[in-house]
Each structure stands twice: as C-alpha cells, then as structure tokens.
Symmetry: C2
Subunit: 483 residues, 2 copies
C-alpha cells in the first residue's frame, strides 16, 4: 500500500517552505511600495494555509517508505509548487491566465527560464523577485535531488555521480543526506552571494544583481530585462559567463576546492570534457562569426560565442546575441548543444556530459568488441570499470530522451508550430534551457505558443528536470501494481 | 597479414560482373539507336579489362581469410562499383563532372535514388537503363550482405535476422551461403518480373516498366520521369505501393509463402509492426490532409499518404506528392519516418523495424527493472529471449546512427546548406531513401548541392547501406593493428 499520508506530509511541508519565500517577495514589494503587495500576501496566505494544513493533518504519517513514495513525491512537489507559484502572477494580473502563469512558474522551478512575458520591465518588483525566486528554489531542489535522491532511484546511470565525480561512496562527502544537502546549499548560496557582489561592482542595482544571480547559479535564465543580458556591459557579461560555468560544474568540486584537494578537481574527467566542449564550440563559433567581420568586432564575437555556448550548455538560457541569424552551421551547433547538458551534480539540466562521455566511449569500444568478439572489453573511466548495468541504463536514458524529444516536438507541430520552432521548443524545455529556435527563438518568447502546446512544454520541462524516468514511471501500470 | 590478393580478386570479379550488366545497357542503347552506344561500350570495355585483369593476376590468392578481408571487400566493392559505374554518365556527357557522376552511381548502387539530374527525360535510353541497373545490382548485393555476410560480422544486432526472422539458424533456409543467395535472388527476380507485368498492364512501356521495377524491388527510387510517379495513373501508383511494400519485407517470408508455411508469415513480429507503422502513419496523414479538402480528393489524399509513407519507410524514394508543403506535422512525420527503415533481410535501408522494436521494448523493460532492481528481466520476442549482448549491440548501432546523422548534417550546414535541408539530406542518404527536405525536397534534386557536400552525402549513403560499422571499422586503428 502506498503511504499517501507521507506524500501529503512532505508536499505540505514544501508548500510552507514556498510560502516563506513568497513572503520575502512581499517584503521586496513593500520596499518598493508597489501595487503587488496585496496579491503577494494573498498568495503567501493561501499557500501557507493549504500547505500547513496538509502538513498538520498528516503529521502522524508512518515512516514506512518505499521507492514508490519517493517517485510520487518528487514529481508532485514540482507540480504543486508550480500551481501555487503561479498565484502571484495571476493575482497581480501580470499573467492573468492560469495556463500561462503555470507555464511561467514551472519554467522557474525547473530552472528553464522560458517565459510568456512580453514586457518584463512592466512587471512590478515584488512579482519579478518572486519570478526569480522560483529559480532559487528550483536550484536548491535539484541539488538535493541529483545528489541524494536520484542515485537512490537507480536509473539513467545517475549512480555515476557517486562512482566518478566524487564523494558519496568513496570519500563520503558527508554520510547523511541532510548534511550533504546543507553543504551543497551552502556552496550554492555562497556562489549567489559572490556573483551578486561582482554584479554590484559592475553597476547593477541590488535588485537586478540578486535576480540575475538566482538565474545564473540555478542555471535558470529569467532576466529582469526585456532584452536579457544584451544591453549590459562586457564586464557584466563576462561575470555571468564565469558563474554560468560554475553553475554547470559538479558542486562537489567546490567542496574539494574548500578542502584544498586540487588534484581531485584537475583530474575530474567530466570537468575536463565540459570545459573542452565549451572552448571548442566557442572558438568555432567565434572564428566563423569573425570571418565576415572587422577586427573591431572580434572581441564582441568571441564574447557572444562564449556567452551563448556557456548559456546553452549549462542550460541557463540568458541571451546576448540572436544565434538564429548566424550562419546556419552556427545555429545548428547551438541547437545540438541543447542536447549537451553540463556536469552531473550541478544545477544544469539535459543529458549531461558524463552520459555523453560513457556513450561515446562505449561506441568506440564496440569496434574493439567486433574485432575481438570473445574478449571482455570493459568501459573504464580513469581506471575505474563502469559496470555494464550502468552503461546499459545510460543507453536507455539517452534513447528515452530522444524518443520523448521526437514525440514532444511532433505533438507541437500538430498545434501548428513549424518544424524548426517545434524542435527548438522541445529541445530547450527538455534541457531546461529557455530560448529555442524560430518563433520561440532568443528574441521571442513563448506568449504566442498555442494553449495546448504550453501544457506539453510544461510537461517536457518537468520530464527533463526530473531525469525522465522519475516522472514516466508514474505512467507505468507496473508501478501502480506494486504500490 | 591482410590477404590483399584475395581482396583484389573479389573486387575484380565484381567488376567483371558489372561490365556484363553494362553490356546489357549497351544493347538497350543499340535497340533505340541512340548516341550513347559508344560511351556505354567504352565503359564496358574499361570496366571489363581492369576488373578482369585484377581478377586474373590475383587468381592464385590463398583462401586464408579473416573478418578483416570481409570488411575491406564489402566497403571497397561499393566504392569501386561506383567509380566504374560513373563512366557511362561521364562519357555520354549526361553528368560530365566526376563528383556528380560518382554521386549518381553511389546513389544507385546503395539503392538510395538521390539524383543530380535535372532533366532525366533528356538522357538517352541506354544510360537511363544503366542508371536503373545500378539499383538492380545494388539490391542483389544487399540481399547477400544482409543474409550471409553482415550476421557473420556480428554487429548492430544483425544476428537477429537469424534469430527472429527465420531460416538460417533454426529452419536452415539453405545451409550454404551461395544457395541462400541464389534463393533470395530468385525471389528478387520474380518480384521484378511480376511487377513489370503489372506495370505493362497499366500501359507503361516495357522500358519504363523494367526501370521502375528495378527501382521498386531494390527500394532504390530512380525514375525515368522528371516528376517521378506523379503523372502516372492511380492503378500504376497502387501497383508500385504494393511492390514497395514487398521490397521492404523480409525476403525469407516469400520463401515461406512458397513452401506454404503461412503461420510463420502471419506470426512474424517484424512484419506485423512494419505493417502497423505504414497503416497508422498513412491514416494520420490521409485524415489530416482530408480535413481541409473536398470529398472528391479523399481517395487521392489516401493514395498520396500511403504512397509517400511506404516510399519513405521502405527507403525507396519515389514521389507522388510534395510532402514539404503539407501541414508541418505531416512533413515532420515524413522526416521522422526517414529513420524508420523497413524489415531486416529486405532491400530497404536505415535503422529497420526490428531494431526499433528491440529498443522500445527494452526501454519499457527499464521501468520493470527500476521497480524490481534485483529481478532479471530479459527481453523476449515471441517467447525467445534476446541475448543482452545483442540488445547492447542494437543500442550501440542506433546511437552511432544518430551520431553520424548529427555530424553529417552539421558538416552540410558548414557548406552553407540551411538546417532543414542539411538534416533532410543526411537522413535521406543515410537511410538510402532519396528525397529530403528544403532545397533537396521531393520536387528538387541534388544538382545544386555544393561539391564537397556531395562527397559527404556519397559517404553517408555508403555508411547507411553497409550498416555503419563495416565501413567505420576501416577507420579504427585497432582494425589495422590486427590485420
């Protein structure tokens, strides 16, 4: 029997937590003395009462748990957070329709950053702060999920996080989940703090600096400006590049940095490949852009290339240039990078470098296996043998990722979106990025997307953020038969 | 040590065989009394002398063979056939440039059907017949390859052909390769003969009927008309639909039909799924097309849908309608079907139904494995357990297919082709289909494609036709270290 009470208890608790953050946005509103104070307080109240009530009446839930409860909690938490997170947008009338407001909130909590807002600068500060706070919360959520919960579920090869990147099995980053979570959240908050200071130095207001830091370190991408990062100074753009890079790094490596274990950082295979992908892609794009440009534009081309590549690979989604008007090869590279993802154990979404590495390595080994059919050819990363079961799960994950991408984009075309826009929209939402191609490109937003398509895209964001299987398993009869 | 003499011997023999077929085209030219007689005779002579010479001087090659020789022979045979097969196009001036003529010949021998000819009807009968003959030869080649040679190489899960579809392991279609090949060729020729008769009944000339039958049963797609099958009668279009369907069926099933083993046909899983894919896709397309059409167009819409779906899935590439001007969802479906492929053991190219079936089934089983982590959950097809090793190889194959698709299309965008055209061109050549999207759509041809891109596309045709690994392995250092 499914332990329903426990599920309700946890979701209630998370909603109380959400209400607390809403209250902070209400304070921001009070500071600016704007019209959104009452809507924000009302949202806080509703969320607190319903969340607190659910938590209170289920407080005697037994602690008898299986994986089933885990799967349900994870998916439902994101959905309920988005339902209540949509309230401020609706109550203040910035995004009056529920579909749109839910899309915006889901985009925030999944740290995607795709927006339906056409005029962001018309939205009052309290609601805008709430919008960026959804990234902050989403980022915190995903860190716990990636390190503590998903490896326990045992799918998609996330066990690798332990095996390769670090800590949990070999070095015991911290023996207990709550301790691990607290360490990661400490690093997360520290990164936000440091980035905010750097942005303040660049002349940003405290409000904008905080919102952009939330958006960066959570790899979200909501900006407080209509043109994202385009009009900011090169200094600010470089600061954001650096912190996007950090957000896409395995957070355990910052722990090693703290402990002075530099060797562990330098030898981290995923960090090496992640850096290589960024450098090679940026150089190819910068050089191609510069072929038809004057020397005066070289620095800007390099900066735009590095910014867009880092923004897409880390699944942040901030924009400094319209990559859809670049040479078709460059637009295509950006589209392909939407399937990259950054490091495991970071806030970034998508497939992630480690999985790609395993797949490519395994495919190369296939040749060896073909030439020596009877030999045992194991896959190793830094001399550690990766179990065949894990390779198998990684293969299944990536396969499922593409199946969902194809089915998702196909459904979007049935809503009348053209092929490029559909593929771009599916790729960018699954990867948790933000901007896509065509009608949902970096200079557009998702306002004009058909109503039904917005629900599809919200679902794709959820799927991508929760590593597919933890959501999909809820649709499997086998799951309910066993619960 | 690589047995080079043996490789030369086999290639020489194949060229002699090719010269024999060229001579037939010369006869056709003589019948029509056209200008291409001398060019065809010259091509025949050159091919015969070089092929025969190579064969003669290597006739004492030892029979000491490994897989290495097999891999080399397979790739080189297709390349050399295309080099010599390009001669008639060049000598008669229909396709004066070598790049273009090689592309056309490779497209023929790989039974792709992508063409650089803008005015097909201006080409004399002898050369046109040679063009269709490349399909005939390519189809014969692939039948032997699929049944006798690729399973022996042991990659991409082609062993399945034996395990599931039939004959070779369980029922011993014929114990010896040559016997098997002869049986398959018998079925192949019979299908061509029957289709030719049906087309003659529809009022086609013998010449056109033969050429179109070659193009159909080999799943090639070269037509003798500028507008492919568009202007032909509904009767002829239906005949071609039926024979495209046959060409995409596992040829062993025809053997069972002959032997009266109907149960084996009805219970064939791949045939069932293959049929289902065709029916579901056609119905979705026909209904969507008919939503905005008058009742008078229903039959034509159904016919166009069924024709295009069958043509793409079987990798034939004949055209009766411009699917690029359909509703974006329908164009996208056609694009996705370019990755389908028909049955194993047929003349069709691409990934093929059986591999998709295994992947989808395996992904579904992942859920079961997640819920019961310690249980052994084997993959079964019709109660037969498919070895994990084979599932693994299928996964690696499909992964490699997409990696090459992505890399191939990326290279094409660097030649300045737009994203849709590049993706369409890479998908259609790898799948051995013919028409793509955008500038290489069904109403266009490959004449305007940049020179370098034509070489890339020729290589993609070869890769796709030879199931990737048998070509790619030649680029692996491991291979040459062992040979």
């Amino acid at each position: 029997m499914l332990n329903k009470k426990f599920v309700i208890n946890i979701i209630g608790l998370v909603l109380v937590f959400e209400a607390f953050f809403m209250l902070i946005s209400a304070f921001v509103s009070a500071i600016y003395g704007e019209s959104d104070l009452i809507p924000l307080l009302l949202s806080t109240l509703i969320t607190f009462v319903i969340g607190g009530g659910a938590w209170f009446f289920s407080r005697n839930a037994s602690k008898d748990l299986g994986k089933g409860e885990g799967f349900i909690v994870v998916s439902f938490v994101w959905v309920f957070m988005s339902v209540f997170g949509a309230l401020p947008f609706i109550f203040n009338g910035d995004i009056p329709r529920f579909t749109d407001a839910f899309f915006e909130a889901m985009s925030g909590f999944t740290t995607t950053g795709a927006s339906v807002l056409s005029d962001i600068e018309a939205v009052p500060h309290g609601v805008l702060f709430w919008r960026s706070t959804t990234h902050l919360i989403g980022g915190m959520g995903i860190l716990v999920l990636a390190v503590a919960i998903l490896p326990y579920f045992g799918f998609g090869g996330m066990q690798l996080y332990n095996a390769e990147a670090a800590g949990v099995t070999n070095d015991k980053l911290h023996p207990r989940i709550t301790q691990t979570a607290k360490s990661l959240w400490g690093i997360y908050m520290l990164l936000i703090l440091v980035q905010t200071i750097f942005l303040l130095f660049g002349g940003m207001s405290l409000f904008d600096a905080l919102c952009h830091s939330f958006g960066t370190v959570a790899s979200g991408g909501f900006s407080t400006k209509n043109d994202s990062i385009i009009s900011y100074s090169p200094y600010i753009q470089y600061v954001i590049i650096v912190f996007m890079f950090f957000a896409g790094t395995n957070f355990t490596l910052f722990y090693f940095l703290w402990k002075g274990k530099f060797k562990k950082i330098v030898h981290n295979k995923e960090l090496q490949i992640y850096s290589l992908v960024l450098i090679v892609s940026s150089v190819v794009i910068a050089v191609t852009l510069s072929l038809s440009a004057s020397a005066a534009e070289y620095e800007k081309n390099f900066r735009d290339a590095l910014f867009q590549v880092t923004s897409i690979v880390t699944s942040t989604g901030f924009v400094t240039a319209d990559y859809t008007i670049w040479h078709p090869a460059l637009t295509y590279i950006i589209f392909l990078l939407m399937f990259a993802g950054a490091s495991t154990g970071s806030t970034s979404g998508g497939i992630k470098i480690m999985r790609h590495h395993i797949l490519i390595k395994n495919t190369m080994l296939e040749f060896k296996r073909m030439i020596h059919p009877s030999a045992v050819v194991p896959l190793k990363i830094r001399d550690k043998v990766i179990q065949k079961e894990i390779v198998y799960k990684v293969l299944a994950f990536v396969m499922m990722y593409f199946v969902i991408f194809v089915m998702g984009s196909l459904v979007l075309t049935f809503f009348g979106m053209d092929m490029d826009s559909s593929m771009g929209a599916a790729a960018t939402t699954m990867g948790g990025i933000g901007p896509g191609l065509g009608t949902v490109g970096p200079m557009n937003n998702f306002a004009a997307v058909p109503e039904g398509a917005k629900w599809v895209l919200s679902f794709l964001m959820l799927l991508g953020r929760l590593e597919l299987f933890s959501v999909l398993i809820l649709f499997s009869p086998e799951f309910w038969k066993n619960s």
